[in-house]
Point group: C2
Chain length 323, copies 2
């Protein structure tokens, strides 16, 4: 049997071959020409998957809540995939919390697919790879794709914000409401979940969040509901999901979802253009001359701007822009 092409793998994934699906996602993760070929293949197949971003500080219980949401979605007999977006770490490689462990009770359910994704260090990687992976999962016939991020850094918030609707998970305690605001989460939240709501302070945190939303002047249908839930017991999780689907209904009927998808496509193109240019930047700064300039900057003999100028000029001569 010969080596299977991206096209073969994608066809197999469409027919329910999970190993093939995993391999297609690995191609996307690694980037380069095969990723690009997958991108060209999937774009015309309009998968109907709706995406829900799930973000919040590390330790907020996002994975537990995601697993509880899987129960709710499966009870409605819908197919669901989870894309867990990890920051790049060569040291852990995402191995500590493996995909099998994560799936819990759903490990034997072939209507559930869980996949961790890391950037493995290439710049702009996740923001470029995640939307592509979501499209592949749509082609593979999943009704829902939950995109869960590990942290609340700039990249993670950006990735979660690319979903059709975004769920922001916080915990009881005023600090978290402030931190959520500071991390830019207020702008991307469609639904707030105060997880671990059986702990003291849940109602105060809800009040604090509502107050921050008041201050921001977010009103009516545009205002994200604030739900209380306990991911470990499943309490309130059906209500969270109902808030998400209601919100999506509003986004759809108001035309806001189409608007979001257009904006997202624009952002994705910008990111691809940027990724290409970043590759060039790295090529431009991987030389003996670049190392020499770095020594001069470290020694306080040269400012970094001038060093960057010289490398850009040298790079332009060596490899002029092509179409």
């Amino acid at each position: 049997m010969g080596r299977r092409t991206p096209s073969d793998l994608l066809a197999a994934a469409r027919d329910g071959d999970r190993a093939a699906l995993a391999r297609v996602l690995s191609l996307i993760e690694r980037g380069g020409e095969p990723a690009r070929e997958v991108g060209r293949l999937v774009v015309r197949e309009s998968g109907s998957a709706a995406t829900v971003g799930i973000t919040g500080a590390p330790g907020a219980g996002k994975s537990t809540l995601t697993n509880a949401l899987l129960d709710v979605i499966r009870a409605a007999d819908q197919r669901v995939a989870v894309l867990a977006v990890d920051p790049s770490s060569p040291f852990t490689g995402g191995a500590i919390l493996g995909d099998r462990v994560r799936m819990g009770d759903h490990a034997l359910d072939d209507q559930v697919f869980v996949r961790s994704m890391a950037t493995r260090g290439h710049l702009g990687g996740l923001a470029v790879a995640a939307p592509e992976a979501v499209r592949v999962l749509g082609v593979a016939g999943f009704d829902w794709v939950l995109v869960e991020t590990v942290g609340v850094g700039q990249v993670e918030v950006e990735v979660a914000g690319q979903a059709d609707a975004t769920l922001v998970v916080v915990n009881p305690g005023w600090g978290d409401a402030v931190q959520a605001a500071k991390a830019g989460l207020m702008e991307i939240a469609d639904v707030f979940v105060i997880n671990k709501a059986d702990r003291p302070g849940a109602t105060e945190t809800r009040r604090d969040l509502e107050r921050v939303l008041d201050l921001a002047g977010v009103k009516g249908d545009d205002r994200p509901p604030v739900c209380l839930a306990v991911g470990t017991s499943g309490e309130g999780v059906a209500e969270v999901w109902s808030a998400v689907t209601q919100r999506l209904g509003h986004l759809r009927s108001s035309g806001m979802l189409d608007e979001r998808r257009r904006r997202r496509a624009g952002d994705e193109i910008t990111r691809l253009v940027a990724a290409r240019l970043l590759e060039r930047a790295q090529a431009a700064t991987d030389s003996d001359r670049a190392a020499d300039l770095a020594d001069q900057v470290a020694a306080g003999k040269l400012d970094p701007w001038s060093a960057a100028d010289e490398l850009l000029a040298a790079h332009a001569e060596a490899a002029p822009e092509r179409g």
Copy 2:
């Protein structure tokens, strides 16, 4: 009185004018030609400031610990500046936790300077602006610059990792050790602090962290010590600082600090080159044609790679690379 130039402002900042120093830092934050001029002015003045990155999950108590460290540093009669690095958020603008509130007991101490810094949305901004700000604070005569990040996302970890030494703050609870590893913090830690160590589980977390370090095979002088501290009471904070200074001593004597600074200078140049190229990417994707391509991608009529190609080609024709 005429408008003061970056050079005037920098001279005033060197003489202890705090308002001038704040204005120079604003110039850097905003970027563009004035930032560049500041960059050229400061590079040749070898400020002797040592930088310490302080990072960890939101809510880990980094600000409280930083304030407790200020007490220790001031007790040794040294001048110290804090650069609090916030993710970009147009909604909060860093206003919720203002610099004055942050300074606490040190608000009237003119040997302490605290400044929040945000990117205000421009790509690559913080990673480019933070090292420049550190140099300015060095020129202004601070012995120490503490660079505190709000989150543990990709950008935040990168910024904290640019310091001479990096302090990673976690809390009691196994989850945090896993999260720290997942967020890529193990690679950048010079000293671990288990803050809020008066809570249950501190010794278990220390054991877990030591085990992760064992697994990573980090030994001898290269192994980050794990300290216990309570930021709110100041307990253990002097020991944390002593661990930091010892570690810096080792980095200095072993030549590793010079190596780090060289690598950092190289990274900074790469980032500047990338930032320049990103500006071009944004210019290339801000057009009617780009909006039209985004519509096609959103409608599933075109793949984003082809859209990016077309924009790159059009951009190359319109504005060829210059030195």
